[in-house]
Amino acid sequence: MQSESHVLWWNAFKQGDWDAFTALYGEFYELLNNYGRKFTQDADLIQDVVHDLFVRLWTTRTRLGNPASVKNYLYKALRSTLFRKIQSLSKFVELDNASGQGGFAVNFIPDASFRQEEQELRNQVIALVNTLPARQQEIIFLRFYEGMSYEEIAVIMDINMSSTYKLLYKALDNLQKVSDKRFLTFLTILFFLSRNFSKKIMIPEG
């Protein structure tokens, strides 16, 4: 999946090639903004994070390695830069599980061009996804939107891919078998419960 030009740009950039650096910026700016947007609606914050990320890339370029995927490397860097920033800006330190902080949400496009039967499925999928806790939603995003393997997702999110996603598959599987509304309600409850596992504990700073 690693693109030929990404490798060329990366190697040239590490040797101090400014054009290659701006080419990387040109290539990944939109993707990084789109990923960052899922964690926060604050456009200025996302821009600050992209700024910090690229400044740090340039200043540390001689020490950088050769990532298996430049894109995944940047996603991981964006994520950790963003979390650090959110943490330092926040009055409170959010203690979630070790995987990270911040919410995660996608905005679905209301789309009339879908066929009638698809519209029904669509409503169900959206309802289901929206009930998932942030980190599970992030896994879904990286998996189904970015098309990444579990291994890639585990590296970016710095987690051990456990049975988290299995829960969703089970739910989708049931969605396929049962169009019964009551069953869907049951699923909603199930995911509502699962959300409580990542209960947030707020403690004052200092």
Partner: protein, 350 residues
């Protein structure tokens, strides 16, 4: 790739399958793998229902807001540059410009018009003319061992023998992807035989890198650079000066005028046609129709002109026209009829 395990594939198995996920999210670059998945329902009918469901769940999920923040792209880069300059006493990179690594690879898209340039060359004895038919692609090795991939319904013309005293020259009508060999990395000291020139519809593209794409259709020339460096000359009929293009730069040219200059968002997609049979990114129905006509020789009629503006968000990577038509009818509110083999009628509504 005929594997027993697929016969009993459940929804869960599809969602667990990295190769399937890669394909359905439009990230599959390998044509063979893309073909496998697009033919899956007919190859494994027993798992077709689960396959279809998995595809529609994921396509449904993918119809989500994309936030690219393009308006601030230039501004954020300015801020990054300013911060770096403030941090550094010297600016080594800005002085050094293009390194040899980047110069070593250039990818360019050129879409130009008219075949008259090519036909002017016909009849000269030492010239090689290679043309592809509808739906056909060919890989050609040039006299200097540079490799060209020629897309459907395209023509390339060049001298049979190239010597080291004159520039290497190629004429293109249609679309071609070049991988050019043996360029001098020192651009200030290039001998004639080291120059590589591509002519298309009044434009001359001088290649300062090694790989690029050329396309020539509908009276318009489009040049887009992915990596490396090229110089575009506009002939002597007009007063445009030669233009050096850097990665991401894109121009459109017709009737001796530059119509448009801009930056391409994802320049990488320009050469994707060499790997995937049919590939589009955020394409309008109009763009898809043009490809069906140009590359596959279809005659396409639309019920209402307005439906040409309908857009399919995201990437489409499909193996054949049939699969492409399925994607169109499942994602857009249109109906496609096929009165004969090479005729399509697209109307709105189901």
């Amino acid at each position: 790739m005929n594997n027993e395990k697929y016969v009993t594939y459940r929804l869960e198995d599809f969602l667990d399958d990295d190769a399937f996920i890669k394909w359905v999210s439009g990230k599959e670059q390998d044509a063979f793998a893309a073909k496998f998945w697009s033919e899956f329902p007919s190859q494994y009918p027993s798992a077709a229902a689960n396959f279809d469901f998995a595809v529609s769940v994921i396509r449904t999920y993918r119809s989500q807001e994309v936030w690219e923040n393009k308006d601030n792209k230039a501004h954020v880069l300015e801020r990054i540059t300013a911060t770096i300059e403030a941090n550094n006493n010297r600016r080594p990179a800005l002085m050094r410009r293009m390194s040899t690594w980047v110069r070593a690879a250039a990818i360019v898209l050129i879409i130009a018009a008219g075949g008259y340039l090519v036909y002017n060359k016909l009849g000269k004895p030492s010239q090689e003319i290679i043309a592809t038919g509808y739906g056909e692609k060919r890989t050609i090795t040039l006299p200097d061992h540079s490799v060209v991939t020629l897309n459907a319904s395209s023509t390339i013309t060049f001298n049979e023998k190239w010597d080291t005293t004159s520039a290497r020259e190629v004429w293109v009508d249609g679309e071609a992807f070049f991988d050019v060999k043996h360029l001098n990395r020192d651009t200030t000291n290039i001998r004639p035989g080291q120059r590589f020139l591509v002519h298309s519809n009044g434009l001359t593209i001088e290649v300062l890198g090694t790989s690029f794409n050329v396309r020539s259709r509908h009276g318009k020339t489009k040049v887009g650079l992915v990596t490396g460096k090229i110089q575009v000359g506009f002939g002597n009929k007009n007063d445009h000066e030669a233009m050096v293009m850097l990665p991401g730069d894109y121009i459109e040219y017709a009737d001796n005028h530059v119509l448009l200059t801009k930056k391409i968002d994802k320049p990488e997609t320009i050469k994707r046609w060499t790997q995937v049979p049919l590939t589009f990114t955020d394409a309008t129905l109009n763009e898809i129709i043009e490809t069906l006509q140009d590359n596959y020789g279809y005659t396409v009629k639309v019920g209402e002109q307005s439906i040409k503006k309908l857009k399919i968000e995201g990437d489409i990577n499909v193996a054949n026209v049939e699969e492409l038509l399925t994607v169109i009818t499942t994602t857009l509110n249109v109906k496609i009829q096929q009165p004969s083999e090479k005729e399509l009628v697209i109307t709105s509504g189901k």
